[in-house]
Symmetry: C2
């Protein structure tokens, strides 16, 4: 039986992941805080994504549910919520629904309260990370940080960067990292470096301010980091 | 007349830069806190560098002086001191000696006090950077952050990474950045991205925890970041 995927977050990252995983044959349930509000929303995403209902017309086989329904559905769960809302979304999703499962944390602790470009939330930077906080919030799950260092279209199609960039995984459980690497390969990633335990999320999240400046300098979000070695 | 180079810091980074710049034909004075102590030191550098006096036998044309003498000598000055000691070294070097000059900041705010791998000093991370503090300490100079994101042998020879990685500059003065880019090209860098003003140092310094984890995972310090785009 196919591995089932739960996705938390209906923004452009969640949509892009849900679309690609559906194309790859995975049954997907995507979760949101408030289903009727998500379906009624007509605002275009600030990053150019479609309102959910419009996107959903193309991907009718993706089930929409609450955070808890998506978490319960998935054998593997992708966290695609915005950083500030992530820990609250996990509470709503109920940590019991993640027990024994692999959780791919794609979120970034971006703090927009100090203007643009955003910095990272001080409580989750340098000597801590959002990835580690997520692992603490879901003690029964195996959290793997990955994919957060590129634009979501590059996440599911690294060749969109016009090259073969490097991807990373960090997490405490080797088997969970292997599962994630398998999906990364299906997305097209050929060069994957394992950064060790979940504290490797610190480095992966701290790349974001660098990413944002490179984006600003090159006016191009479709890039990746290749570790030349 | 050849552009004269002052280098602050006699450790392996300062030695490597001084050696390469000498080979390129630049007159170099390298500065230290205490000249007689530096010459008497016989400890091998923890990163494998030679004691200064031993290194100096191969590069006799490099003059050794105090921080102030090196800063006064240079038309362009490279900061190769360790992050924790940098602001104090600049005081000793006397800010007046930097007036109107280009200053290349290679230092990293690495905090070893919380164990290994190091984190970054909390006062210089995320919403601030050591590069910005250096610019504040040297208001008459044009500080350019560069080179801090790779091992010193890769700094002066990017091909040591077995590829063609990307280098970055960040600073407030366009002319100073052009001067630095010219030297980077002489080192062999062919792909250089300008990250804008000196606040771009935040991203460049925040890459260090990522660098350290990649080094730990690959057991190879001779790598660079190629921005695939």
């Amino acid at each position: 039986m196919a591995v089932k995927v739960g996705i938390l977050g209906t923004g452009v990252v969640g949509q892009t992941l849900a679309g690609k995983l559906t194309e790859l044959g995975y049954p997907v349930t995507i979760g949101t805080r408030d289903v009727s509000k998500t379906m009624a929303n007509t605002d275009r995403n600030p990053y150019g994504g479609a309102p959910f209902a419009e996107w959903h017309k193309q991907y009718g086989q993706v089930k929409l549910g609450t955070f808890a329904e998506a978490a319960r559905f998935g054998d593997i769960i992708f966290i695609c919520t915005n950083g500030a809302a992530t820990l609250d979304a996990l509470k709503q999703a109920k940590p019991d629904n993640f027990k024994g499962k692999t959780v791919v944390d794609i979120s970034n602790p971006l703090d927009f309260s100090r203007g643009m470009p955003p910095s990272l939330f001080p409580q989750w930077v340098n000597t801590n990370s959002l990835g580690e906080e997520i692992q603490k919030a879901l003690p029964g799950a195996n959290v793997v940080k990955s994919l957060n260092i590129v634009n979501c279209e590059v996440m599911v199609n690294p060749r969109k960067s016009n090259g073969d960039p490097t991807m990373f995984v960090a997490g405490n459980d080797a088997k969970a990292k292997d599962e994630v690497k398998e999906i990364l390969k299906q997305f097209g990633w050929t060069d994957i470096i394992d950064l060790g335990d979940i504290s490797g999320a610190r480095g992966m999240e701290m790349v974001l301010p660098f990413w944002l400046r490179i984006w600003g300098a090159t006016k191009n979000g479709y890039f990746g980091f290749k570790i030349v070695r």
